[in-house]
């Protein structure tokens, strides 16, 4: 369709969407809404298309709406019986059962304190009920999820579209920095990033790097990255 890559505003109507040849369906993503066979835009942004029949709007957004299956970085705020309340920047906190950790049983509770960071997946997210978070996959293994070691590191927030940029396979800042700096990051789809480097100085440098690349392209990122590493090394 010729509209792909153009800017749309809420209320615009889309037509001529390319359907899949097998099922004759069109998959509408975030920012698009169907109503009686016509498609409306409900977020301002750029229309994107993926073969064969995927359409969505890529928009700037800071408010997080919990969605099923997304990996999020949450802060434990409260403990009520056998569930933890976890703030995931949604309209209400998510619940996280103490049983949904790797190796947890009724007897053997995970060691989680209020204020800890947890990286998990949203098991259910619905506009009518509170979201539920888990830190294990369907096979019962943690697979990188769980409590993030709380000694050190720095957590900050950024816009959701920036998060998607950071998580796209083409994003090269972390890889380039990783060639010369040992560090660890956890990126949640809810707009939170946690970074930990060897020292506070390095952590700050990585955080600044991540914050400043939101509107840069690949080449600019490369240049910025080199500068950052040079400054860190003391040149």
């Amino acid at each position: 369709m010729e509209h792909v890559g153009k800017i749309f505003m809420p209320g615009d109507v889309l037509s001529n969407l390319q359907a899949s040849q097998k099922s004759g369906k069109v998959v509408l993503g975030p920012g698009l809404k169907c109503d009686n066979d016509s498609v409306f835009v409900n977020k301002p942004g750029v229309l994107k298309h993926k073969e064969p029949n995927f359409y969505w709007i890529d928009s700037h957004q800071k408010k997080y709406v919990p969605t099923r299956g997304e990996h999020v970085l949450g802060v434990v705020t409260n403990r009520m019986g056998d569930v933890y309340r976890v703030d995931i920047r949604g309209s209400e906190p998510a619940s996280l059962s103490f049983l949904s950790f790797e190796g947890a049983t009724k007897r053997n509770r995970p060691d989680i304190k209020i204020g800890d960071l947890v990286y998990g997946k949203l098991l259910c997210a619905n506009k009518d009920i509170e979201p539920e978070m888990v830190c294990i996959d369907s096979t019962g293994r943690s697979n990188g999820m769980g409590v993030i070691s709380c000694n050190g590191g720095f957590m900050f927030t950024c816009s959701l579209n920036h998060i998607r940029k950071i998580l796209s396979p083409q994003f090269n800042l972390l890889k380039t920095l990783g060639n010369s700096l040992p560090f660890e990051v956890a990126v949640g789809m809810n707009g939170r990033i946690w970074v930990k480097g060897r020292s506070i100085k390095e952590t700050i440098a990585i955080v600044n790097g991540l914050n400043s690349v939101e509107y840069m392209d690949t080449n600019e990122i490369k240049v910025m990255c080199r500068k950052l590493l040079d400054t860190l090394a003391g040149f």
Binding site: V26, V27, L28, G29, P30, L32, T67, R68, P182, E184
Partner: protein, 178 residues
């Protein structure tokens, strides 16, 4: 039911007596339960209207960005900072590259179905070329199967070619007559 009713028909006076209190309550409960059974059965909950047919929409909505953008897993570690995460990253990377290679190979290579189809049409024509004149004549009478023709493969090609040309002419004639 009839029996129960007959049994329960004790006189009012007897039922009013103190020691009969409990059986009065029981009888009342039984009666209530029976009445409820009668009023609420399956039909009570069924609608008497034709079923609504859900209109199949051309569009399928997805709330998440996950199926649209190929996002990587959000936990990363570099230069051995967190060994566990690093190991996981490596596994995922190899998995991905393997899948990619698989996909590419499938695109380049001829699929099994395609191969089979091509050869079923080829076996007959190639087999014909190598078959002896006599055998070929036999075969034209009987419908040939690919396996038969493979059995008769021989290697004096030049003489065969002439004969096959002749055969062709003979075969065409009856067709034209018809």
């Amino acid at each position: 039911m009839m029996e129960a009713q007959e049994k329960s028909k004790l006189s009012k006076n007897v039922l009013q007596m103190k020691f009969m209190r409990r059986s009065v309550v029981r009888l009342d409960e039984e009666q209530n339960a029976e009445e409820e059974k009668q009023t609420i059965d399956d039909e009570h909950w069924a609608y008497d209207i034709p079923q609504l047919k859900a209109k199949e929409s051309k569009f399928q909505c997805e709330a998440s960005y996950l199926p649209f953008e190929d996002l990587v897993f959000g936990r990363m570690s570099y230069k051995g900072f967190n060994k566990e995460i690093e190991k996981m990253m490596k596994e995922k990377n190899t998995e991905q590259s393997l899948a990619e290679a698989d996909r590419r190979e499938k695109e380049m290579a001829v699929s099994d179905d395609e191969m089979a189809e091509r050869f079923t049409s080829l076996v007959g024509t190639v087999g014909k070329k190598f078959a002896k004149k006599r055998k070929k004549a036999e075969k034209e009478k009987v419908t040939e199967t690919p396996q038969d023709t493979i059995d008769t493969v021989q290697t004096d090609a030049p003489s065969k070619k002439k004969k096959s040309k002749k055969k062709k002419k003979e075969f065409m004639k009856p067709n034209e007559d018809e």
